[in-house]
Symmetry: C2
Subunit: 219 residues, 2 copies
């Protein structure tokens, strides 16, 4: 089997261990988990646990989860991957960050019409430390495929985190800007709209563009 389930349960120590224990006892391999405490709605204060599970026996597992005292409900869903697809991440500040988003969203709309699923996550931010932390965190984001850095000056610790991100297999597109980030980026693009467009083209399987074939270039 391969199923996605969402569990609403109590927010207390040991909850995730108990749920993951039931899944493991039915031979299920958890390939994706997202769990957080709900701060809104009828289940406010409870925990939401979403899991995508491969292999194992579904029927008995859902029943056994439902029988746990602290579990309010178990629902079966289509996986996030099928709903939201790959993520293009855009980080930066000022007018450029919104224009990079325009390019990426328009290009993603065109590819998604042809059956792809690409979404665009934009985080407007300024300041070396804030930007460096955000760049570092991209490596821990599920479905993150490429990063666009849109600003007028970026360097120092940001450049170090760009390097680490590239080592984790995530390419980085930078606008033509002051600072050392452009030297480290896989691709430098002058127009922010085109930077966003290139990022989606790299992710899209319906496009012929591959960043590895233009690495180090500037447009």
């Amino acid at each position: 089997m391969s199923i996605a389930i969402n569990i609403i349960c109590a927010d207390r120590p040991g909850m995730l261990r108990d749920i993951a224990g039931v899944v493991a006892s039915h031979g299920g391999n958890i390939v994706y988990t997202q769990q957080f405490v709900l701060d809104r709605g009828a289940n406010e204060g409870r925990s939401s646990v979403y899991m995508e599970i491969e292999a194992g026996q579904a029927e008995g597992m859902v029943e056994e989860l439902n029988s746990l005292d602290a579990i309010v409900e178990v629902t079966v869903y289509p996986p996030f991957e099928k709903i939201y697809g790959s993520r293009v991440i855009i980080i930066g500040g000022g007018a450029q960050v919104a224009q990079a988003a325009v390019g990426a969203v328009n290009e993603a709309d065109r590819h998604n019409l042809r059956g792809e699923r690409i979404s665009v996550d934009t985080i407007p931010l300024v300041g070396e430390q804030a930007l460096a932390d955000a760049v570092a965190a991209v490596g821990r984001l599920h479905r993150a495929s490429i990063l666009v850095l849109a600003g007028a000056i970026m360097g120092g610790r940001i450049t170090e985190e760009v390097k680490k991100l590239q080592e984790q297999g995530i390419p980085v597109i930078a606008l033509k800007m002051a600072g050392s980030v452009p030297q480290q980026a896989d691709l430098v693009v002058t127009d922010p709209t085109q930077a966003g467009t290139f990022a989606v083209m790299h992710v899209a399987s319906t496009a012929v563009f591959d960043i590895n074939r233009v690495r180090g270039k500037e447009f």
Copy 2:
């Protein structure tokens, strides 16, 4: 304590149970988890487990996790909440979806300059089923605060999912459009740029706007 850790480990059944078991045995309450299988970089094929933990004893816990055979590394990080903050979600198609993103990203940039952390996630999509699934999934997204629906026609199952999302405490802004979604939305806005701007203003604690004070209105 309140710490965030990232674990790189084997992708196999029982892994999450073992990790959550160690955390629970040290009295830690897991308030956020994101786990997925890496499809890139040096740790490709391994699992990445990110957790934010409250209470309990950090020192012994990290040591015990490191001693597990299947664990490659344990790293301590600042929480996602502090890095990416609240999420404004924009779903829709065509030129409107990119313009809603422009409004939201520019407005978020202004608030983030004053110390907030608001990010904008845009998913360009068309078709009743695809849109309805995406709207339904917003309720299972961590840090999702408000939804903007940007298109020319939306109704049917999309409207049903909008209603369920509102019951979960997530307000919905719709463009003025054909179909039944605008009747169900908390706020109807004609200009997509302003729709994105309103969404961020509602989320921002530095803004005076509150969607509850204009519910059912049209601008």
